[in-house]
């Protein structure tokens, strides 16, 4: 039986700002590849070849990426992002079979997808520590009886992963904007929706969740080494190093680590497990980087320590920068949330030497100029700020 997949990648992912300034959440790189790409790989692994992606926010960026995928993908546009079910309906004219609906910004492993394909109408579920960010589901004998979307007080830890396997005729019944509401109306009209437990599922609600997702997806990397690697460099575990990289003498890299193309790392640099480094990144001598996502075109100057950081494209960290992990409360938009990270930086941030970060979020294109050093702890700095 053929199944089509519809990936919903139109939303921005506002809670992941400042990282989603130039791309939607689904394109954020985790283990050096966009989340969307990990997802399409899972789909291909369980034999689904007919993939439709709904795009919206920064759609050109998504389309540009999709062209390079090994599977042909069809694209439809959702002009206004008013809901997941509405996004699915945007693709309706291309759907002729049963359909698997997936959020483009979550990772689901192929085994879970295969499992959900077994039952006719199903929702993938899992347990989560913070259920109130998701749709909380009530289950009776393996079938869904209720979905409460982002409740203020969640009564149970079982949540929907947002992955739905629906038979083709159900599409005509959708009149709601959100998938959770649509599924509720299926249930009230007597359709049985099975609840299928996911093996492996990763979502990032807030930027620091990306670090966890990164660590998980790094486990699946294939190690390969290209570029120029000094004979005195020590490389242990699963490490992949891209084309044209230069790994200087006495550099130590402990996998799992991925490094993109054209990076210059070392001499005397230590890279610890759980680190993804994009393309054209420079890491100067005597620096330590661990458990971080460093995106393209970043520069980390000498004598720096960077842990639990997410650096957007084109960031520069001056000499003697210290980024250390810490927990605390942050004011993100209108809500106050519990966070735990070193630093989250948007694109193009410049940070002068001697700044230390702990549990902070720095907006896009910020300029942090501290001649005599500066300590930022549990701070949120908005886009385009100059800190003098």
């Amino acid at each position: 039986m053929t199944v089509q997949a519809v990936i919903l990648a139109a939303g921005e992912g506002k809670r992941l700002r400042p990282l989603t300034h130039n791309r939607p959440k689904s394109l954020l790189p985790v283990a050096n590849r966009p989340i969307l790409e990990h997802l399409t790989e899972s789909l291909v692994k369980c034999g689904i070849r007919d993939i439709i992606v709904v795009v919206g926010y920064r759609k050109e960026q998504v389309m540009r990426h999709l062209i390079g995928l090994p599977v042909p993908v069809r694209v439809v546009e959702q002009k206004d992002q008013i809901g997941t079910a509405h996004a699915l309906l945007c693709a309706k004219s291309l759907i002729s079979h049963d359909v698997l609906v997936l959020p483009g910004d979550n990772y689901v492993d192929p085994a879970s997808l295969k499992e959900s394909l077994k039952s006719n109408n199903s929702v993938l579920i899992t347990t989560h520590r913070h259920p109130s960010n998701f749709g909380v589901v009530t289950i009776d004998e393996g079938y869904i009886t209720d979905i409460a979307e982002k409740p203020a007080h969640a009564t149970r830890m079982t949540v929907s992963c947002g992955v739905y396997h629906l038979s083709h005729d159900l599409l005509d019944m959708i009149s709601e904007h959100s998938m959770a509401e649509a599924v509720m109306s299926f249930i009230t009209s007597g359709v049985k929706i099975a609840a299928v437990h996911a093996h492996e599922w990763q979502d990032a609600i807030y930027p620091w969740d990306l670090l966890c997702m990164n660590e998980r997806l790094l486990r699946g990397i294939t190690a390969f080494r290209e570029g120029f690697i000094s004979s005195s460099a020590v490389i242990e575990g699963a490490v992949s190093i891209g084309k044209c990289c230069v790994i200087g003498p006495y550099t130590t890299i402990k996998g799992p680590v991925v490094i993109g193309e054209g990076c210059v790392i070392g001499p005397h640099v230590v890279i610890l497990p759980g680190t993804s480094i994009g393309s054209r990144v420079t890491i100067e001598p005597f620096s330590v980087v661990g458990n971080s996502i460093i995106m393209d075109d970043c520069v980390i100057c000498s004598h720096s320590t960077v842990r639990a950081a997410v650096l957007g494209d084109g960031c520069t960290l001056g000499e003697h920068t210290v980024v250390s992990s810490g927990a605390g409360l942050l004011e993100m938009g209108k809500e106050v949330v519990q966070s735990s990270c070193g630093v989250i930086m948007g694109n193009g941030v410049f940070s002068s030497p001697l700044v230390s970060y702990e549990n902070s979020v720095i907006g896009n294109d910020c300029y942090i100029d501290a001649r005599n050093g500066l300590r930022l702890r549990s701070k949120v700095i908005p886009d385009r700020t100059r800190v003098m």
Binding site: H21, E60, Q61, R74, V75, G348
Partner: protein
Amino acid sequence: MCGIVGYVGYRQAAPVLIEGLKQLEYRGYDSYGIATMCDDISIHKKAGKVSDLSTGSSALQGVCGIGHTRWATHGIPSDLNAHPHLDCTGTIAIVHNGIIENYAGLKRELIIRGHSFRSETDTEVIAHLLEEVYDGDLLMAMKLVVPLLHGSFAILALSKGNNQLVAVRNQSPLVLGIGDDEFFAASDITPLLEYTNRVVYLEDGDFADIRIDGYTFFQGSLMVNRPVHEIDWAPETVQKGGFPHFMLKEIYEQPEVIHRAIHSLNDSNLPESLRKARSMTVVACGSSYHAGLIFRYLLESACGIPVRLELGSEYKYNPVPSSDVIIGISQSGETADTLAAIKKGTCNNVPTVAITNVLNSSITRHADDTILMHAGPEISVAATKSFISQVGVLLQVVNLLSGRSCDDILSHAGFAIEKVLLINFEEAVDLCSSADHIFYVGRGPFYPVMMEGALKMKEISYIHAESYAAGEIKHGPFSLLSSKTPVIAICAPGPSYAVMLGNLKEMKARGTPIIALGSEDDIELIELVDILIPLEPAHTYIQVLTATVILQELAYYTAARLEREIDKPRNLAKSVTVE
């Protein structure tokens, strides 16, 4: 400048030909036609674009056929003038790309000998000439006819009753695609990508005899072997992938393209003739000429090497300059004028370097050295990513010749372009789309950037756009300024900033609306101009690239607002293969 395709194999030929023609449409789109062989030769041809095609023609039967998409040179675009052309008896059909220079004389002789012509094209004479000598062996007939023809041509022919194609090439591009038990012929490799990655490039003067069971090449009467090349272009690169136009897709590919272009050249593969040169001449046409102009400004100031710039079409009227090397820039590698310049250099013992996007194109075979710009196939007629990659390659040449002083700057060029892609052009588009005339002004290396910007605007939005060096405006064009002629200017901090700001104030005093590319922190500029498009402060090399992309996008969005045919602007074709 037309595109031709041919097919022999096991598939139905018509759909293959139609799809192939769609890929070749950038070469011309006045009219199209196909002919297939099945007991008899059946022909379908029409004025108009092949992409607007009604379903009728794909129903033609047969496993052998030829097709053509036309950019009119002789005779108006009409159903009759569309290729393929038949002889009087309907036994031979041909398609042709190029120009038969002596067709008028041949046509008079043929009419006297009793042939009746249906079209006004130069091509039809070939069909009638073949008819006179054809006795069942099409290849032999072709060998007898070709010596009579003067000019440039790539010809595909088929005859009634045979599943056989005969191909001839002389100064117009033609490649043969080799599949499993099937063969393709086309003006370039894009139509072949879907079926095979093995191709053979025909040389000038080659005849190819193509049948279902194999192919043979002849140079005159001598049988020759031509090497089979493998192509690494992926078929996805010639699909739109959800983008409304190829042009926008290609604009978005530029961050990656610039990296490839810059990395393609390093100390070890920089042509020796460039390294040694104490003077250079750059020959190019259109956008490539603008890339050359930017190169002149930057190389002269970085290395003090004088660079002379020539338009390809004018170069033949010049004596050969005494410079040490001639650089020919052509995206397609088939631009006739640039090709002629390279040949002129070779004839006069001047080393030549070709900068092109197409491996094994004509220019690469005539130049001593070739630098590939690795932009990937460009389908949109208006050059975007190929221009950026030309500038990228030339910037890297400047960088290498000046001792790699800018490696760090160039390696992050893509990131700078990514940022430009996020700019919102709504306001500027409002202003431009309602104008009839737009002036582009800049100074220094930004002057050619403006020339390129104006060219893009003209090409795709059909708005009259002129570029001037800012200082020249007062020598005449000033009289054309009014409140209805927007001026687009680059006013970035740098040596020319103060003068440029002065120029803008003079224009503003005449009520001219101004769109400026400048720093967002520049309050004086913001107060002066109507719309400011942010141009990040950066090294000149980077600003040249980012400003180019800004102007490409401005032209694109203006044309999109006016609902123009962006990928195929009227009357144009991508590679200009006639002089």
